[in-house]
Amino acid sequence: MIEATNISKQFKVHQALQDVSFTVKQGSVTGLIGPNGSGKTTLIRIMNGVLGASSGQVTINGLDTAREAEKVLAICGTLTEQSGLYENMSGRDNLTFFADVFGLKHAQKRIDELVTLFELQDYQHRKVGTYSTGMKKRLGLARVLLHRPSILFLDEPTNGLDPDGIQMVLRIIRQLNQEEKMTILVSSHVLSQLSAVCDRYIFLEKGRIVEEGTEQEIVSRYLSTPKLEVEADMPDGWHTATDYTPEIISAHQAMFQLTSREDIPLLLRQLTEHGQVYQARITGSDLESIYFAIREAHHHE
Protein backbone atom coordinates (compact mmCIF):
# COMPACT_ATOMS: atom_id res chain seq x y z
CA MET A 1 0.00 0.00 0.00
CA ILE A 2 1.19 3.51 -0.83
CA GLU A 3 0.32 6.35 1.50
CA ALA A 4 1.18 9.95 0.69
CA THR A 5 0.58 12.45 3.46
CA ASN A 6 0.67 16.23 2.95
CA ILE A 7 3.37 16.16 0.29
CA SER A 8 4.67 19.54 -0.82
CA LYS A 9 7.60 20.21 -3.10
CA GLN A 10 9.21 23.54 -3.83
CA PHE A 11 11.84 23.99 -6.59
CA LYS A 12 13.44 27.37 -5.86
CA VAL A 13 10.52 29.71 -6.66
CA HIS A 14 8.26 27.10 -8.26
CA GLN A 15 5.77 25.25 -6.08
CA ALA A 16 5.52 21.86 -7.84
CA LEU A 17 3.30 20.07 -5.30
CA GLN A 18 1.10 21.43 -2.58
CA ASP A 19 -0.28 19.41 0.30
CA VAL A 20 -0.91 16.23 -1.68
CA SER A 21 -2.40 13.30 0.25
CA PHE A 22 -3.81 10.03 -1.08
CA THR A 23 -3.73 6.27 -0.66
CA VAL A 24 -3.13 3.63 -3.31
CA LYS A 25 -4.45 0.20 -2.38
CA GLN A 26 -2.39 -2.90 -2.95
CA GLY A 27 -3.18 -4.61 -6.24
CA SER A 28 -4.96 -1.59 -7.74
CA VAL A 29 -4.29 0.33 -10.94
CA THR A 30 -4.45 4.05 -10.28
CA GLY A 31 -4.44 6.69 -12.98
CA LEU A 32 -2.59 9.92 -12.24
CA ILE A 33 -4.16 12.54 -14.44
CA GLY A 34 -3.24 16.12 -15.06
CA PRO A 35 -1.94 18.52 -17.69
CA ASN A 36 1.77 18.93 -18.39
CA GLY A 37 3.47 20.64 -15.46
CA SER A 38 0.80 19.63 -12.95
CA GLY A 39 3.36 17.73 -10.85
CA LYS A 40 2.77 14.10 -11.93
CA THR A 41 6.42 13.25 -12.61
CA THR A 42 7.61 15.08 -9.50
CA LEU A 43 5.11 13.09 -7.44
CA ILE A 44 6.32 9.80 -8.94
CA ARG A 45 9.93 10.73 -8.19
CA ILE A 46 9.06 11.58 -4.59
CA MET A 47 7.08 8.34 -4.18
CA ASN A 48 10.23 6.41 -5.13
CA GLY A 49 12.41 8.32 -2.71
CA VAL A 50 14.55 9.54 -5.62
CA LEU A 51 13.45 13.10 -4.97
CA GLY A 52 12.96 14.57 -1.52
CA ALA A 53 9.72 16.31 -0.57
CA SER A 54 9.92 19.77 0.98
CA SER A 55 7.38 18.55 3.53
CA GLY A 56 5.16 15.55 4.09
CA GLN A 57 5.81 11.83 3.92
CA VAL A 58 5.30 8.88 1.57
CA THR A 59 5.29 5.32 2.84
CA ILE A 60 5.27 2.21 0.69
CA ASN A 61 4.37 -0.98 2.56
CA GLY A 62 5.29 0.90 5.74
CA LEU A 63 8.72 2.01 4.44
CA ASP A 64 9.45 5.74 4.53
CA THR A 65 10.56 6.39 0.95
CA ALA A 66 12.81 9.33 1.85
CA ARG A 67 14.74 7.39 4.48
CA GLU A 68 14.71 3.90 3.02
CA ALA A 69 14.97 4.68 -0.68
CA GLU A 70 17.08 1.63 -1.50
CA LYS A 71 14.58 -0.79 0.06
CA VAL A 72 11.73 1.03 -1.66
CA LEU A 73 13.48 1.01 -5.04
CA ALA A 74 14.09 -2.74 -4.71
CA ILE A 75 10.33 -3.36 -4.75
CA CYS A 76 9.41 -0.63 -7.25
CA GLY A 77 9.86 -0.36 -10.98
CA THR A 78 9.73 3.12 -12.49
CA LEU A 79 9.52 4.16 -16.09
CA THR A 80 9.80 7.89 -16.67
CA GLU A 81 9.50 9.66 -20.00
CA GLN A 82 13.26 9.47 -20.46
CA SER A 83 13.61 5.74 -20.58
CA GLY A 84 17.18 5.94 -19.20
CA LEU A 85 18.56 3.55 -21.79
CA TYR A 86 22.12 3.67 -23.12
CA GLU A 87 21.91 4.36 -26.84
CA ASN A 88 25.40 3.12 -27.68
CA MET A 89 24.57 -0.33 -26.27
CA SER A 90 22.28 -2.98 -27.71
CA GLY A 91 18.88 -3.61 -26.17
CA ARG A 92 20.03 -6.87 -24.65
CA ASP A 93 23.24 -5.31 -23.28
CA ASN A 94 21.11 -2.61 -21.64
CA LEU A 95 18.99 -5.26 -19.94
CA THR A 96 22.09 -7.22 -18.89
CA PHE A 97 23.64 -4.07 -17.44
CA PHE A 98 20.56 -3.19 -15.39
CA ALA A 99 20.15 -6.82 -14.30
CA ASP A 100 23.71 -6.64 -12.93
CA VAL A 101 23.00 -3.31 -11.23
CA PHE A 102 19.93 -4.90 -9.62
CA GLY A 103 22.16 -7.82 -8.60
CA LEU A 104 19.92 -10.37 -10.32
CA LYS A 105 20.78 -14.02 -10.45
CA HIS A 106 19.82 -16.04 -13.55
CA ALA A 107 19.55 -12.73 -15.39
CA GLN A 108 19.69 -14.16 -18.90
CA LYS A 109 16.60 -16.31 -18.31
CA ARG A 110 14.65 -13.30 -17.03
CA ILE A 111 15.87 -11.18 -19.95
CA ASP A 112 14.70 -13.88 -22.41
CA GLU A 113 11.25 -13.84 -20.79
CA LEU A 114 10.97 -10.05 -21.07
CA VAL A 115 12.35 -9.90 -24.59
CA THR A 116 9.63 -12.38 -25.60
CA LEU A 117 6.90 -10.57 -23.62
CA PHE A 118 7.68 -7.27 -25.33
CA GLU A 119 8.34 -8.89 -28.73
CA LEU A 120 11.89 -7.55 -28.93
CA GLN A 121 13.53 -10.75 -30.20
CA ASP A 122 14.42 -9.36 -33.61
CA TYR A 123 15.91 -6.11 -32.30
CA GLN A 124 17.59 -7.15 -29.07
CA HIS A 125 21.11 -7.11 -30.55
CA ARG A 126 20.69 -3.77 -32.30
CA LYS A 127 21.97 -0.56 -30.72
CA VAL A 128 19.23 1.29 -28.85
CA GLY A 129 20.14 4.47 -30.73
CA THR A 130 18.61 2.89 -33.85
CA TYR A 131 15.33 1.96 -32.09
CA SER A 132 12.02 3.69 -32.80
CA THR A 133 10.24 5.48 -29.92
CA GLY A 134 7.92 2.51 -29.49
CA MET A 135 10.76 0.02 -29.32
CA LYS A 136 12.57 2.17 -26.76
CA LYS A 137 9.41 2.36 -24.67
CA ARG A 138 8.99 -1.41 -24.75
CA LEU A 139 12.63 -1.94 -23.84
CA GLY A 140 12.25 0.63 -21.04
CA LEU A 141 9.29 -1.32 -19.70
CA ALA A 142 11.27 -4.56 -19.89
CA ARG A 143 14.05 -2.82 -17.94
CA VAL A 144 11.80 -1.77 -15.06
CA LEU A 145 10.31 -5.26 -14.79
CA LEU A 146 13.68 -7.04 -14.59
CA HIS A 147 13.66 -7.40 -10.80
CA ARG A 148 9.97 -8.42 -10.61
CA PRO A 149 8.80 -5.33 -8.72
CA SER A 150 5.55 -5.48 -6.79
CA ILE A 151 4.80 -1.80 -7.48
CA LEU A 152 5.06 -0.16 -10.86
CA PHE A 153 5.19 3.58 -11.60
CA LEU A 154 4.61 4.36 -15.25
CA ASP A 155 4.97 7.97 -16.37
CA GLU A 156 3.27 8.45 -19.75
CA PRO A 157 3.97 4.86 -20.85
CA THR A 158 2.07 5.16 -24.12
CA ASN A 159 3.60 8.45 -25.30
CA GLY A 160 4.94 8.15 -28.82
CA LEU A 161 3.51 4.68 -29.42
CA ASP A 162 1.51 3.61 -32.45
CA PRO A 163 -1.96 2.04 -31.86
CA ASP A 164 -0.47 -1.48 -31.79
CA GLY A 165 2.14 -0.38 -29.27
CA ILE A 166 -0.52 1.30 -27.09
CA GLN A 167 -2.64 -1.86 -27.10
CA MET A 168 0.39 -3.94 -26.18
CA VAL A 169 1.29 -1.70 -23.23
CA LEU A 170 -2.31 -1.63 -21.97
CA ARG A 171 -2.55 -5.42 -22.32
CA ILE A 172 0.67 -5.85 -20.36
CA ILE A 173 -0.49 -3.43 -17.62
CA ARG A 174 -3.69 -5.50 -17.24
CA GLN A 175 -1.74 -8.75 -17.32
CA LEU A 176 0.78 -7.61 -14.68
CA ASN A 177 -2.00 -6.38 -12.45
CA GLN A 178 -4.21 -9.46 -12.81
CA GLU A 179 -1.62 -12.25 -12.96
CA GLU A 180 1.15 -10.89 -10.78
CA LYS A 181 -1.06 -8.74 -8.53
CA MET A 182 1.17 -5.76 -9.20
CA THR A 183 0.13 -2.37 -7.81
CA ILE A 184 0.38 0.10 -10.66
CA LEU A 185 0.31 3.87 -10.75
CA VAL A 186 0.14 5.18 -14.28
CA SER A 187 0.21 8.78 -15.40
CA SER A 188 -1.05 9.88 -18.77
CA HIS A 189 -2.97 12.60 -20.49
CA VAL A 190 -4.48 10.24 -23.08
CA LEU A 191 -7.47 9.47 -20.93
CA SER A 192 -9.35 7.09 -23.19
CA GLN A 193 -6.41 4.72 -22.75
CA LEU A 194 -6.40 4.97 -18.98
CA SER A 195 -10.07 4.15 -18.60
CA ALA A 196 -9.34 0.73 -20.08
CA VAL A 197 -7.01 -0.23 -17.24
CA CYS A 198 -7.54 1.95 -14.15
CA ASP A 199 -9.63 1.24 -11.05
CA ARG A 200 -9.21 4.69 -9.56
CA TYR A 201 -8.06 8.13 -10.62
CA ILE A 202 -6.23 11.02 -9.03
CA PHE A 203 -6.58 14.36 -10.82
CA LEU A 204 -3.74 16.84 -10.32
CA GLU A 205 -3.94 20.51 -11.21
CA LYS A 206 -1.13 22.98 -10.46
CA GLY A 207 0.42 20.61 -7.94
CA ARG A 208 -2.78 19.95 -5.99
CA ILE A 209 -5.19 17.04 -6.00
CA VAL A 210 -8.48 18.39 -7.31
CA GLU A 211 -10.40 15.13 -7.58
CA GLU A 212 -10.03 11.43 -6.85
CA GLY A 213 -12.11 8.29 -6.87
CA THR A 214 -13.42 5.59 -9.21
CA GLU A 215 -14.65 6.59 -12.64
CA GLN A 216 -18.26 6.11 -11.51
CA GLU A 217 -17.80 8.21 -8.39
CA ILE A 218 -16.25 11.06 -10.34
CA VAL A 219 -18.82 10.85 -13.13
CA SER A 220 -21.68 11.03 -10.63
CA ARG A 221 -20.09 14.12 -9.05
CA TYR A 222 -19.67 16.02 -12.29
CA LEU A 223 -22.57 14.77 -14.38
CA SER A 224 -25.61 15.78 -12.34
CA THR A 225 -27.45 16.75 -15.55
CA PRO A 226 -26.73 13.99 -18.05
CA LYS A 227 -27.27 14.27 -21.76
CA LEU A 228 -28.59 11.08 -23.40
CA GLU A 229 -28.12 10.30 -27.07
CA VAL A 230 -30.70 7.78 -28.29
CA GLU A 231 -30.87 5.82 -31.53
CA ALA A 232 -34.38 4.45 -32.03
CA ASP A 233 -37.20 3.85 -34.45
CA MET A 234 -40.23 5.90 -33.29
CA PRO A 235 -43.10 5.31 -35.76
CA ASP A 236 -45.24 8.12 -34.24
CA GLY A 237 -42.39 10.57 -33.91
CA TRP A 238 -40.11 11.54 -30.99
CA HIS A 239 -42.44 14.15 -29.47
CA THR A 240 -45.38 11.79 -28.95
CA ALA A 241 -43.20 9.05 -27.44
CA THR A 242 -42.07 10.84 -24.31
CA ASP A 243 -42.68 13.70 -21.87
CA TYR A 244 -39.03 14.77 -22.19
CA THR A 245 -38.17 17.32 -24.85
CA PRO A 246 -35.89 15.89 -27.50
CA GLU A 247 -33.35 17.71 -29.59
CA ILE A 248 -33.87 15.79 -32.83
CA ILE A 249 -30.71 15.01 -34.75
CA SER A 250 -32.28 12.81 -37.45
CA ALA A 251 -35.33 10.60 -37.91
CA HIS A 252 -33.67 7.87 -35.86
CA GLN A 253 -31.49 9.91 -33.53
CA ALA A 254 -32.30 12.39 -30.77
CA MET A 255 -30.59 14.00 -27.82
CA PHE A 256 -32.29 14.47 -24.40
CA GLN A 257 -31.02 16.93 -21.82
CA LEU A 258 -32.12 15.40 -18.49
CA THR A 259 -32.13 16.96 -15.06
CA SER A 260 -30.77 13.92 -13.17
CA ARG A 261 -29.46 10.38 -13.65
CA GLU A 262 -32.80 9.11 -12.26
CA ASP A 263 -34.51 10.42 -15.42
CA ILE A 264 -32.62 7.95 -17.61
CA PRO A 265 -34.62 4.76 -16.79
CA LEU A 266 -37.88 6.73 -16.96
CA LEU A 267 -37.10 8.09 -20.41
CA LEU A 268 -35.95 4.72 -21.73
CA ARG A 269 -39.11 3.03 -20.42
CA GLN A 270 -41.30 5.57 -22.22
CA LEU A 271 -39.34 5.23 -25.44
CA THR A 272 -39.42 1.41 -25.48
CA GLU A 273 -43.19 1.54 -25.00
CA HIS A 274 -43.57 3.55 -28.22
CA GLY A 275 -40.86 2.15 -30.47
CA GLN A 276 -37.63 0.16 -30.91
CA VAL A 277 -34.60 1.52 -29.00
CA TYR A 278 -31.33 0.35 -30.51
CA GLN A 279 -28.81 2.37 -28.58
CA ALA A 280 -28.62 4.96 -25.79
CA ARG A 281 -25.49 6.52 -24.37
CA ILE A 282 -24.69 9.32 -22.01
CA THR A 283 -22.57 11.85 -23.83
CA GLY A 284 -19.84 13.68 -22.00
CA SER A 285 -19.48 10.88 -19.44
CA ASP A 286 -16.16 9.61 -20.76
CA LEU A 287 -13.02 10.30 -18.83
CA GLU A 288 -11.92 13.00 -21.22
CA SER A 289 -15.12 15.01 -20.80
CA ILE A 290 -14.87 14.58 -17.03
CA TYR A 291 -11.27 15.78 -17.18
CA PHE A 292 -12.33 19.02 -18.84
CA ALA A 293 -15.26 19.40 -16.45
CA ILE A 294 -12.91 19.04 -13.50
CA ARG A 295 -10.39 21.46 -14.97
CA GLU A 296 -13.15 23.95 -15.66
CA ALA A 297 -14.46 23.63 -12.11
CA HIS A 298 -11.01 24.27 -10.62
CA HIS A 299 -9.82 26.74 -13.20
CA HIS A 300 -10.17 29.84 -11.04
CA GLU A 301 -8.77 28.35 -7.84
Binding site: G49, V50, L51, G52, L73, Q82, G84, V101, F102, G103
Partner: protein, 277 residues
Protein backbone atom coordinates in the same frame (compact mmCIF):
# COMPACT_ATOMS: atom_id res chain seq x y z
CA UNK B 1 22.10 -6.45 -3.73
CA UNK B 2 25.39 -7.76 -5.02
CA UNK B 3 27.70 -4.75 -4.90
CA UNK B 4 30.60 -6.31 -6.78
CA UNK B 5 28.32 -7.38 -9.60
CA UNK B 6 26.96 -3.82 -9.82
CA UNK B 7 30.42 -2.21 -9.65
CA UNK B 8 31.72 -4.53 -12.39
CA UNK B 9 28.70 -3.71 -14.55
CA UNK B 10 29.21 0.04 -14.07
CA UNK B 11 32.92 -0.16 -14.89
CA UNK B 12 32.29 -2.29 -18.01
CA UNK B 13 29.50 -0.02 -19.19
CA UNK B 14 31.48 3.22 -18.74
CA UNK B 15 34.62 1.84 -20.40
CA UNK B 16 32.52 0.61 -23.29
CA UNK B 17 30.95 4.05 -23.71
CA UNK B 18 34.47 5.49 -24.08
CA UNK B 19 35.67 2.88 -26.57
CA UNK B 20 32.48 3.38 -28.58
CA UNK B 21 33.11 7.11 -29.04
CA UNK B 22 36.01 8.22 -31.22
CA UNK B 23 35.73 11.76 -29.80
CA UNK B 24 36.62 10.34 -26.41
CA UNK B 25 39.28 7.75 -27.10
CA UNK B 26 41.17 9.59 -29.84
CA UNK B 27 42.44 12.48 -27.65
CA UNK B 28 43.16 9.97 -24.92
CA UNK B 29 45.52 8.16 -27.29
CA UNK B 30 46.95 11.19 -29.08
CA UNK B 31 47.99 13.11 -25.95
CA UNK B 32 50.04 10.24 -24.44
CA UNK B 33 51.46 9.47 -27.86
CA UNK B 34 52.71 13.04 -28.29
CA UNK B 35 53.58 13.97 -24.70
CA UNK B 36 54.78 10.59 -23.53
CA UNK B 37 56.35 9.04 -26.60
CA UNK B 38 56.92 11.14 -29.74
CA UNK B 39 58.08 14.40 -28.16
CA UNK B 40 60.41 12.91 -25.51
CA UNK B 41 61.87 10.44 -28.00
CA UNK B 42 62.53 13.16 -30.58
CA UNK B 43 64.10 15.47 -28.00
CA UNK B 44 66.27 12.72 -26.55
CA UNK B 45 67.38 11.66 -30.01
CA UNK B 46 68.23 15.25 -30.96
CA UNK B 47 69.96 15.94 -27.65
CA UNK B 48 72.14 12.87 -28.02
CA UNK B 49 73.39 13.90 -31.47
CA UNK B 50 73.54 17.69 -31.72
CA UNK B 51 76.29 20.13 -30.91
CA UNK B 52 74.37 21.71 -28.06
CA UNK B 53 76.50 24.79 -27.30
CA UNK B 54 75.90 25.99 -30.88
CA UNK B 55 72.15 26.11 -30.33
CA UNK B 56 71.30 29.47 -28.84
CA UNK B 57 67.83 28.78 -27.56
CA UNK B 58 68.70 25.96 -25.19
CA UNK B 59 71.42 27.87 -23.41
CA UNK B 60 69.09 28.40 -20.44
CA UNK B 61 68.84 24.62 -20.04
CA UNK B 62 72.59 24.17 -20.26
CA UNK B 63 73.09 26.89 -17.66
CA UNK B 64 70.62 25.15 -15.37
CA UNK B 65 72.52 21.91 -15.91
CA UNK B 66 75.84 23.56 -15.14
CA UNK B 67 74.36 24.95 -11.95
CA UNK B 68 72.94 21.55 -11.00
CA UNK B 69 76.28 19.89 -11.74
CA UNK B 70 78.17 22.34 -9.53
CA UNK B 71 75.66 22.28 -6.73
CA UNK B 72 75.81 18.46 -6.64
CA UNK B 73 72.03 18.09 -6.60
CA UNK B 74 72.30 15.39 -9.26
CA UNK B 75 75.69 13.79 -8.44
CA UNK B 76 75.72 11.64 -11.59
CA UNK B 77 76.01 14.72 -13.81
CA UNK B 78 79.54 15.59 -12.66
CA UNK B 79 81.03 12.32 -13.89
CA UNK B 80 79.49 12.57 -17.36
CA UNK B 81 81.91 13.23 -20.23
CA UNK B 82 79.87 15.60 -22.46
CA UNK B 83 77.00 18.07 -22.42
CA UNK B 84 75.05 15.61 -24.58
CA UNK B 85 75.32 12.96 -21.86
CA UNK B 86 74.24 15.42 -19.21
CA UNK B 87 71.33 16.83 -21.14
CA UNK B 88 70.05 13.43 -22.31
CA UNK B 89 70.25 12.16 -18.74
CA UNK B 90 68.52 15.23 -17.35
CA UNK B 91 65.76 15.22 -19.94
CA UNK B 92 65.06 11.49 -19.69
CA UNK B 93 65.24 11.16 -15.94
CA UNK B 94 63.94 14.49 -14.65
CA UNK B 95 62.44 16.92 -17.09
CA UNK B 96 59.85 14.71 -18.72
CA UNK B 97 58.55 13.38 -15.43
CA UNK B 98 56.02 16.17 -14.68
CA UNK B 99 54.88 16.04 -18.30
CA UNK B 100 53.83 12.47 -17.67
CA UNK B 101 51.34 13.64 -15.06
CA UNK B 102 49.42 15.37 -17.82
CA UNK B 103 48.41 11.92 -19.12
CA UNK B 104 46.44 10.72 -16.05
CA UNK B 105 45.07 14.25 -15.50
CA UNK B 106 43.78 14.44 -19.05
CA UNK B 107 42.46 10.86 -19.14
CA UNK B 108 40.79 11.12 -15.73
CA UNK B 109 39.15 14.43 -16.66
CA UNK B 110 37.71 13.09 -19.91
CA UNK B 111 36.59 9.80 -18.37
CA UNK B 112 34.94 11.37 -15.33
CA UNK B 113 33.27 14.16 -17.28
CA UNK B 114 31.84 11.54 -19.63
CA UNK B 115 30.85 9.27 -16.80
CA UNK B 116 28.98 11.79 -14.64
CA UNK B 117 28.19 14.96 -16.60
CA UNK B 118 27.83 12.94 -19.80
CA UNK B 119 25.33 10.64 -18.12
CA UNK B 120 23.36 13.66 -16.95
CA UNK B 121 23.48 15.18 -20.41
CA UNK B 122 22.23 11.98 -22.05
CA UNK B 123 19.45 11.72 -19.41
CA UNK B 124 20.52 8.26 -18.34
CA UNK B 125 21.50 9.13 -14.77
CA UNK B 126 17.90 9.08 -13.59
CA UNK B 127 17.52 5.49 -14.80
CA UNK B 128 20.41 4.54 -12.52
CA UNK B 129 18.98 6.52 -9.60
CA UNK B 130 15.74 4.53 -9.93
CA UNK B 131 17.63 1.31 -9.26
CA UNK B 132 18.29 0.24 -5.66
CA UNK B 133 22.04 0.65 -6.12
CA UNK B 134 23.56 2.51 -3.17
CA UNK B 135 25.25 5.84 -3.87
CA UNK B 136 28.40 4.34 -2.38
CA UNK B 137 28.38 1.54 -4.97
CA UNK B 138 27.55 3.98 -7.76
CA UNK B 139 30.51 6.21 -6.90
CA UNK B 140 32.89 3.29 -6.43
CA UNK B 141 31.92 1.97 -9.86
CA UNK B 142 32.22 5.36 -11.48
CA UNK B 143 35.57 6.20 -9.87
CA UNK B 144 37.01 2.80 -10.82
CA UNK B 145 35.68 3.16 -14.37
CA UNK B 146 37.80 6.30 -14.71
CA UNK B 147 40.77 5.21 -12.59
CA UNK B 148 41.46 1.87 -14.29
CA UNK B 149 41.76 3.16 -17.88
CA UNK B 150 43.60 6.25 -16.70
CA UNK B 151 46.23 4.17 -14.89
CA UNK B 152 46.51 1.65 -17.71
CA UNK B 153 47.06 4.45 -20.21
CA UNK B 154 49.72 6.09 -18.00
CA UNK B 155 51.51 2.81 -17.29
CA UNK B 156 51.52 1.63 -20.90
CA UNK B 157 52.90 5.04 -21.99
CA UNK B 158 55.51 4.80 -19.24
CA UNK B 159 56.57 1.34 -20.44
CA UNK B 160 56.88 2.43 -24.07
CA UNK B 161 58.73 5.60 -23.07
CA UNK B 162 61.03 3.54 -20.85
CA UNK B 163 61.89 1.19 -23.70
CA UNK B 164 62.59 4.04 -26.11
CA UNK B 165 64.61 6.01 -23.53
CA UNK B 166 66.77 2.97 -22.81
CA UNK B 167 67.27 2.27 -26.51
CA UNK B 168 68.45 5.85 -27.04
CA UNK B 169 70.58 6.05 -23.88
CA UNK B 170 72.22 2.63 -23.94
CA UNK B 171 74.75 3.47 -26.69
CA UNK B 172 75.80 6.57 -24.74
CA UNK B 173 75.95 5.20 -21.21
CA UNK B 174 76.56 1.50 -21.85
CA UNK B 175 73.95 0.52 -19.26
CA UNK B 176 70.15 0.58 -18.77
CA UNK B 177 69.53 3.95 -17.16
CA UNK B 178 65.74 3.98 -16.98
CA UNK B 179 63.84 4.02 -14.66
CA UNK B 180 65.38 5.67 -11.64
CA UNK B 181 63.74 5.87 -8.21
CA UNK B 182 62.03 9.13 -9.17
CA UNK B 183 60.19 7.55 -12.04
CA UNK B 184 59.15 4.50 -10.05
CA UNK B 185 57.69 6.69 -7.28
CA UNK B 186 56.03 8.87 -9.88
CA UNK B 187 54.36 5.98 -11.64
CA UNK B 188 53.30 3.79 -8.73
CA UNK B 189 52.55 6.51 -6.16
CA UNK B 190 52.00 9.96 -7.66
CA UNK B 191 50.15 8.95 -10.83
CA UNK B 192 47.45 6.92 -8.96
CA UNK B 193 47.10 9.65 -6.31
CA UNK B 194 46.90 12.35 -8.95
CA UNK B 195 44.34 10.36 -10.98
CA UNK B 196 42.19 9.83 -7.92
CA UNK B 197 42.27 13.51 -6.99
CA UNK B 198 41.41 14.61 -10.52
CA UNK B 199 38.56 12.09 -10.70
CA UNK B 200 37.04 13.22 -7.41
CA UNK B 201 37.41 16.88 -8.34
CA UNK B 202 35.68 16.16 -11.63
CA UNK B 203 32.91 14.24 -9.85
CA UNK B 204 32.25 17.39 -7.81
CA UNK B 205 32.37 19.59 -10.91
CA UNK B 206 30.13 17.18 -12.85
CA UNK B 207 27.52 17.27 -10.11
CA UNK B 208 27.21 21.03 -10.49
CA UNK B 209 27.26 21.39 -14.29
CA UNK B 210 24.86 20.26 -16.96
CA UNK B 211 26.98 18.70 -19.65
CA UNK B 212 30.21 16.96 -20.64
CA UNK B 213 31.86 19.99 -22.31
CA UNK B 214 31.33 22.24 -19.30
CA UNK B 215 32.68 19.60 -16.93
CA UNK B 216 35.69 18.85 -19.10
CA UNK B 217 36.63 22.49 -19.54
CA UNK B 218 36.47 23.25 -15.83
CA UNK B 219 38.32 20.02 -15.03
CA UNK B 220 41.03 21.00 -17.53
CA UNK B 221 42.14 23.83 -15.21
CA UNK B 222 43.95 21.18 -13.14
CA UNK B 223 46.64 21.09 -15.84
CA UNK B 224 47.83 24.58 -14.80
CA UNK B 225 49.82 23.55 -11.69
CA UNK B 226 51.43 20.82 -13.79
CA UNK B 227 52.70 23.39 -16.27
CA UNK B 228 54.27 25.23 -13.34
CA UNK B 229 56.02 21.99 -12.35
CA UNK B 230 57.35 21.50 -15.89
CA UNK B 231 58.61 25.09 -15.97
CA UNK B 232 60.21 24.60 -12.58
CA UNK B 233 62.04 21.50 -13.73
CA UNK B 234 63.18 23.13 -16.99
CA UNK B 235 64.60 26.16 -15.22
CA UNK B 236 66.29 24.05 -12.60
CA UNK B 237 64.54 26.08 -9.92
CA UNK B 238 62.51 23.18 -8.69
CA UNK B 239 64.26 19.87 -8.81
CA UNK B 240 61.85 17.18 -7.79
CA UNK B 241 63.54 14.40 -5.90
CA UNK B 242 62.15 11.15 -4.43
CA UNK B 243 61.16 12.70 -1.09
CA UNK B 244 59.39 15.54 -2.75
CA UNK B 245 57.54 13.08 -5.01
CA UNK B 246 56.48 11.04 -2.00
CA UNK B 247 55.20 14.21 -0.38
CA UNK B 248 53.38 15.33 -3.52
CA UNK B 249 51.66 11.92 -3.67
CA UNK B 250 50.71 12.12 0.01
CA UNK B 251 49.37 15.65 -0.46
CA UNK B 252 47.30 14.55 -3.46
CA UNK B 253 45.87 11.68 -1.41
CA UNK B 254 45.06 14.06 1.43
CA UNK B 255 43.26 16.38 -0.99
CA UNK B 256 41.44 13.31 -2.37
CA UNK B 257 40.18 12.45 1.10
CA UNK B 258 38.85 15.97 1.59
CA UNK B 259 37.22 15.83 -1.85
CA UNK B 260 35.72 12.42 -1.04
CA UNK B 261 34.07 13.96 2.00
CA UNK B 262 32.50 16.66 -0.18
CA UNK B 263 31.49 14.10 -2.79
CA UNK B 264 29.56 12.07 -0.21
CA UNK B 265 28.07 15.23 1.32
CA UNK B 266 26.94 16.79 -1.93
CA UNK B 267 25.89 13.77 -3.92
CA UNK B 268 23.02 12.00 -2.23
CA UNK B 269 20.51 10.29 -4.49
CA UNK B 270 18.07 13.14 -3.99
CA UNK B 271 20.65 15.85 -4.68
CA UNK B 272 21.79 14.11 -7.85
CA UNK B 273 18.20 13.67 -9.03
CA UNK B 274 17.35 17.30 -8.33
CA UNK B 275 20.48 18.55 -10.09
CA UNK B 276 19.40 17.01 -13.37
CA UNK B 277 15.78 18.16 -13.38
Amino acid sequence: MNNRQAIRALVRKDIRSVTASVQLWLPMLIVPLIIGIIMPSALLWAASRMELRSLGNISFLLESLDALTHSGQIPQLASMPTDNHRIVYYLAMYMFAPLFLIIPVMASSILTANSFAGEKERKTLEGLLFTPISMDTLFKGKVLAALIPSLLLSWVTFLIYGIIANILMYPMFGTLMFPNLNWIILVVWVVPACSLMVILLNVLISAKVHGFQEAYQLGGLIVLPLIALVAGQASGMLLIGPWMLLMIGALLLLISMVLLRFVTLWNSRQQLAESQI
